[in-house]
Structures are given as C-alpha cells and as structure tokens.
C-alpha cells in the first residue's frame, strides 16, 4: 500500500480526476438517496466507498459515469461536469465492473472483452492482440477466448469482467462490489491480484464494498457512507483509530468477527 501513498502525495497538487460538488440525488418520486456530497478522487488512488446497503455508495458510483444524473450540484470528471460531456465518450473512458459481472451471454470471452474496442472501430488484428494481452494480464488462459460465459467459473467470469472494463485502456475504473459474489478463497486471490494489477496500471479507481477488510486492504482512502451522506474520508490507518462512532462500530464488528473465529478455532 506504501507505493500508493507516495503516489498520492506526488499528484495531489493537481486537480482531482473525479470531483463531487455538493451533489444531491433524489428519485423521481422525491426520495432522497444522496445529500450534499462533496468528495474528490485523486489520480492513481483507490478510493473505497464503504457503507451498508442503501447507504448510497452504488448511487455515488453511477453518478460518475452518468448512469444517474445528479438532481443537485455537479459531478466533474477530468474537470468537466458530467452533464456537459458527451455521455457515450464519458462512459467509454471509464471502465465499469459490477458484482453481477453482466457479461454478454451470447458473446464469447473474446467478443466480450473486445466489445468497446470493436464499437470504437479498432481493426480486428488490434482487437485480437489486445484481448490476448488483457487475458494474460488478468490471469486467464488464452484458450478460454472462445468459451461462452456460462462455461466459466464465477472467478473466471469476474476476471473477464475486469479485462472487459480495461479493454480500451480507460484512465478511470469503477468497481461495484466486484468480488462480493465470490467464495472467500477466490475473493482473497482476486484481491491480491487486484493490488498487483493496480500497482502496474496505476488507474484512478473507485471501489464500492460493504466489507471493511476489503476496504482496508485495497483502498488508499476510505469514504464511509451512511443514509445517503458521507460520514468521513479516512486512510486505512486513520480508519482503525477513528473516534467516529460509525467507523468505530465497523472496526468493532470486524474485530468481533475475528475474535469469535479465534474462539471457534481454539
């Protein structure tokens, strides 16, 4: 994690890659899901949005690639408000990985990964090379290129999902509980690979999770959310020492979990 901290210091003087300025989001029916959110994501950092379900973390994520449009305030990506940029260009410049993966079931692995390059008009040879490179990068056997999603395991599917998001080499990556549906061992392995991948690629990452362990492990900063509000933004170290009642409650629940598992083992 050290390299990330160093990296942050170096670039924090520049303007943020993603910036929320007093953002509200309400459903058409009037239900407020997000209120007065102010948040900045710096180049090359992994910002984790941590909170329980319904706290507004996925909403926050979807405001970045404009799957949702703020009802108040503005979200800026690379300095431009998302409402003023071309939504298709904006999204193609942002990788997006979701828990359900959302692979296209009628496409092979190769076509899934190569979709954005294809609609961007890359030549078939260039797409093919890129797909091979990406499969290697995310640890997939190139022989799987011709398989269909239903022929893959959950972990493999999620790797394809990551490869697909990286296909057109976006500078920003959004990940919504990408490892949430995996078994503990696979999750652990993918988290480890994620860290080494991020070290090599140095993307700006926003990562949604409800799992404190995952947040501490992957995040350079943790944004804690509750009931549509941002409670605090803390580094993993600060988070563990925080006196904020909610952060403390998370840490306590986490420690309790460790405690009882220790008791179970002895």
């Amino acid at each position: 994690m050290l390299w990330l901290d160093r990296n942050m210091e170096r670039t924090s003087a520049n303007h943020p890659v993603i910036e929320f300025r007093n953002v509200d989001y309400a459903l058409p029916g009037g239900q407020q899901l997000l209120a007065a959110l102010n948040l900045q994501v710096q180049k090359g950092e992994t910002l984790v949005l941590l909170g329980r379900s319904g706290s507004g973390k996925t909403t926050t994520l979807k405001l970045i690639n404009r799957l949702l449009t703020p009802s108040g305030g503005e979200v800026r990506v690379n300095g431009t408000p998302t409402t003023q940029s071309d939504v298709i260009r904006l999204r193609r410049g942002i990788g997006y990985v979701i828990q359900d993966v959302g692979l296209f079931p009628h496409f092979t692995v190769e076509r899934n990964i190569g979709l954005v390059p294809r609609v961007e008009g890359w030549t078939p040879e260039r797409i093919h090379l890129r797909v091979e490179e990406l499969m290697q990068l995310v640890g997939l056997d190139p022989q799987m290129a011709s398989r269909y999603p239903h022929q893959l395991s959950g972990g493999q599917r999620q790797r394809v999902g990551v490869a697909r998001a990286l296909a057109a080499d976006p500078a920003i990556l959004l990940m919504d509980e990408p490892f949430g549906a995996l078994d503990a061992l696979t999750r652990d392995q993918l988290q480890r690979e994620f860290l080494s991948l991020q070290q090599r690629l140095n993307k700006t990452l926003v990562f949604v999770t409800h799992d404190l362990r995952e947040a501490l492990r992957l995040g350079s900063r943790i944004a804690l959310m509750e009931s549509g509000r941002l409670v605090a933004v803390l580094s993993p170290k600060e988070f563990l020492r925080s006196r904020d009642p909610l952060a403390a409650a998370y840490v306590r629940a986490f420690a309790d979990g460790l405690d009882s598992s220790n008791r179970g083992a002895s």
């Binding site: 904006l90 079931p105 609609v119």
Partner: protein, 210 residues
C-alpha cells in the same frame, strides 16, 4: 382409398390453393413482424407506450374473425380486392403475439447485462441491436411461431370473402355436404400449421441463448 383418389385427381387445384394459402399467411406474417417488432421495442423501452400498444393489440384479438372480415369489406381501397382485405385482417391478428413476445423478450434480458452495456458506453442503438434483440430473439421467434400457426387456421376463413386459399375447399365442402372436399382443405392446412410449428420451433431452440 376414395379420399386418396380425390386428392390425386384434384392435385393441381390443391397445390394452387395451398400456395395461395401460404401467400396469405406469409405476407401477413411479414407485415406483422415488420410492424409488431418495432411496436414491441417501443413499448419495452418507453413504458408509456406499453398500455396503448398492447391494449389495442389485445382488443383486435377479441374481434371474431368473420366479423372483422365483414367490418373491413366496405373500406374503399381495401374492399376492392378480397386478398388485400384478408392480408390486413390476418396481419392484425398476428400483431399481438409478435408485439407481446418482443416486449417480453426485451424486458426479460438480464438487467445486469443491460447495465453493463450502458456503463461501457454502448449507444441505445448498439445496445438494442447487439445485446437486447439477439438475446430476445428466441422469445420473439416463438411469438412469430404462434402468429403463423394461428394465421394458417384463420386464413381458411378468408375464403368466406373470396380471398382464396384452402378455405375454398372447406366452404364448398360444407355447402355441398361433401366430406372429401372439406378434408381436401383441412388436411393440407393442418400439415402447413404443423410444419410451420415444427420448423420455427426448431429454429427457436437453435437461437436460444445458453
């Protein structure tokens, strides 16, 4: 044996009326697909259209076929030729299964897949043609299959207004109390319906996503 001889003797006319029948069904199904699939897409993407479109198609379906043929008879250009009128009526009946299955098929696409596609920056058009329609294809096709099978049956009634087709044998047979004539219309119609059902069912299975 009698029936066999009858078929053999009248094979030219049977073939002719079968082709006429196929034409009525084919053209009307084509129109129903061309009109119905866009309407189904419309109601799947814009829920405002859902009720008026599916509601209208439903109401049409409740009009008895003989009555619909009768209603359309006085319409100027249409009433001039019986086959035009029959094709329109058959198209109207075929619309409901096509629209409804297009709607169901598109709404049935995994929301995670659609969201991933939108999040990756596919345009509405790319999402429709590369993701939604291919994944909905087998459901849409099963709607077309229902439409074709129903049309083969309904098209026999078109003979009542002089539009031709295998119904001619049936109506003539009924008037003359001649079972052989009735069967000369009914058997080829049944064979048509069964083979359309089988053929399209086979295609549907092949196109179903895993």
């Amino acid at each position: 044996m009698n029936l066999f001889h009858f078929f053999l003797q009248n094979r030219d006319q049977i073939v002719e009326l079968t082709l006429e029948h196929l034409w009525l069904v084919g053209i009307s199904t084509l129109f129903a697909v061309v009109v119905g699939i866009p309407l189904g897409i419309l109601s799947a993407h814009w829920p405002v259209w859902n009720r008026p479109v599916l509601g209208t198609a439903n109401i049409i379906q409740t009009i008895p076929s003989l009555a619909l043929f009768g209603f359309l008879l006085p319409v100027p250009w249409l009433g001039d030729r019986a086959d035009r009128l029959a094709i329109l009526a058959l198209t109207l009946y075929a619309l409901l299964p096509v629209i409804r299955n297009t709607y169901t098929g598109i709404r049935g696409v995994d929301p995670a897949v659609v969201e991933a596609g939108r999040g990756m920056g596919l345009t509405t058009r790319q999402l429709l043609f590369q993701v939604e329609l291919p994944l909905a294809l087998s459901v849409i096709l099963s709607g077309v299959r229902v439409a074709v099978v129903v049309s083969v049956g309904l098209a026999t009634i078109a003979a009542a207004i002089g539009a031709g087709g295998l119904g001619e044998f049936i109506f003539r047979g009924l008037a003359m109390v001649n079972n052989q004539l009735i069967l000369a219309g009914a058997i080829p119609a049944a064979v048509l319906a069964l083979s359309a059902d089988f053929g399209l069912g086979w295609l549907e299975k092949r196109l179903r996503p895993q």
